[in-house]
């Protein structure tokens, strides 16, 4: 739109003065800013650290794994139903470890995802800001308690409690080692991760969206569930993914509370040895480091790595589909 009135005069005046000064560089190619390039390079290196880490992990895992599969047929490993690598005669079927990992992870997710998201929504939408400032860090203390402590808490407090209050219709009460207590405690440990990250995402949703919804007569619950949560979905899903990863990779809690007896079962009241618990026990155990028994550690580690890779590929696809950008 052409400038009118005083603005036009101003523009003409500027033009005149511009002509009497050295020419301002016209719009066109910017000169290269080397500082910017250097910073970009530095930042790229930071991102590359993660790639280097993965490469090193793969290198550290691959050689003993290949050597392991030279001695144990891969079919036995993947489809065998008994895990007894250090018994005589040994048996190398990894399925019991996988079922235990799946069971404990599932129980943990049943706790941390609804409760974490619920706590996040409450803190972000319902709680007084001063309450939030206190409650959020308090909740984060849960994330800092050593996993050893959680493991013993599950073993010495939660399991006896569950055994006492176990209703008959659910079957046998939990045994002294059981995947249920380990999973529940794991869920509580991961809760702050899900809650805190989701809450950050929810708080970052622009006020305008909420106010628009209220303006149209929505209730608080409708605003929270239909407006704010979908807007913050990217951050919420990121927190879920981090939570799932943590549950799958958790070592100490399951080592202490779920026990060291491999068990091909999805029943949570039974004991079970997860992949991570086995890796930890083998890592600090008494096996000679060159033996087949020790190399099982790497084989199981590789299996876990590949499994989480597949899970993450799927989740990234899902996130891409549903992420929305607001503003």
């Amino acid at each position: 739109m052409p400038a009118a009135g005083p603005d036009r005069e101003l523009m003409q005046a500027t033009d005149a003065s511009a002509l009497s000064q050295p020419a301002v560089r016209p719009l066109g190619r910017a000169r290269p800013r080397w500082g910017e390039r250097a910073i970009q390079g530095l930042l790229f290196l930071c991102a590359a650290v993660s790639v280097v880490t993965t490469v090193c992990i793969v290198v550290a895992l691959v050689e003993p794994t290949i050597s392991f599969f030279g001695e144990v047929p891969i079919g036995d490993f993947l489809f065998g139903t008994e895990w007894a690598p250090l018994f005589s005669p040994p048996s190398f079927g990894v399925l019991p470890l996988i079922t235990a990992t799946l069971t404990t992870t599932f129980v943990a997710l049943c706790v941390c995802i609804p409760a974490g998201l619920g706590a996040a929504i409450y803190l972000s939408e319902y709680a007084h800001p001063r309450a939030r400032k206190v409650l959020k860090p308090v909740l984060e203390i849960l994330a800092g308690i050593p996993t050893v402590v959680y493991g013993f808490f599950a073993l010495t407090f939660l399991t006896p409690l569950l055994q006492d209050v176990w209703p008959g219709f659910l079957g046998d009460p939990p045994q002294i080692f059981n995947m249920l207590a380990a999973g529940l405690v794991m869920g509580v440990m991961i809760l702050p991760t899900v809650a805190s990250l989701s809450e950050d995402a929810l708080t970052a949703v622009p006020q305008a969206l909420r106010e628009g919804a209220y303006g149209m007569g929505a209730s608080k619950m409708q605003v929270a569930t239909r407006i704010v949560v979908p807007a913050a979905l990217s951050g919420i899903v990121a927190s879920f993914v981090l939570g799932i990863s943590r549950a799958v990779g958790e070592t100490m809690i399951v080592l202490v509370a779920a026990g060291g007896t491999p068990n091909l079962s999805f029943i949570p009241t039974e004991p079970g040895q997860t992949m991570t618990a086995f890796i930890a026990a083998a890592g600090i155990g008494d096996q000679p480091t060159g033996s087949v028994g020790y190399k099982t550690l790497f084989a199981v580690g590789s299996t876990l790595f590949v499994a989480t890779l597949l899970m993450n590929v799927l989740s990234i696809r899902l996130v891409r589909k549903y992420r929305e950008v607001y503003e």
Binding site: G144, L197, A218, T251, G301
Partner: protein, 293 residues
Amino acid sequence: MSTVDAPIGRGPQSDRVKGTLFRLALLSSLALGLITLIALLADVVISGAARLNGDLLTNFPSGIPENAGAQSAIFGTIWVIGLTGLMCIPVGVGAAIYLEEYADRERWWNRAIELNIQNLAAVPSIVYGILGLAFLVRGAFGLGQVVLAGAMTLALLVLPIVIIASREAIRAVPPSIREGSMALGATKWQTIRRQVLPGAIPGIATGSILALSRAIGEAAPLVLLGALTFITFNPEGLDSAFTVLPIQIFNWISRPQEEFQTLAAAAIVVLLVILLTMNAAAILLRNRYQRKW
């Protein structure tokens, strides 16, 4: 929190009931975490109360429970976690900035990095211990079983947490802020440094709190690296032997003598105090820079 507390007029009865139930459900989620925390803390503090005295801080580990203390473990934890934070936060935030601001999302290698980071978050901590032993203690870096190797291993372990949290924080800054800055003639880095990062500080602070909380509680990978269970001196430099509180705690819990169980509980309390102190800085930053868009 919203500026409008209740909609105009009151909604139908069923809506109100649903609303109340929903609110209760949310509150109980929060309560679950808080009640468990209180139960845990009470359990730990009560068990360890007898040994929560100066001896714990001034004595070194000993086979005789009455003489035992955790000074080497306390200092070791402070050294290791301090170094871990110094390493993982800048690198993590840097990586997040790169991935969010500079990387072309369509390029396959940038998507591979994204996938990679998510995957690393699921790798069990003991695998990082193996990694550290092979490449940091021996191998390419050859640092030996020292504080720096332990800190670097832990930094790698928690890096994905920092990156993911920082990415979300940076992503949450509205594009209009960036566009406004660019329109005023700022370069990309100036925009990031002066507009985006300050806006993302709360999320980055959360990420660092969660990351350091994870790191401070890790024992198994450090044991594999060569952290000790019996050491009677504090770390004296980056190339010093060390131990950390979780290792000491696990060691004491496994001892047959009853008094060691009490010591373990007391050490847990000390660990939590250290954690809170370290997180306090991040929490203050977060509260200061919290803003509504």
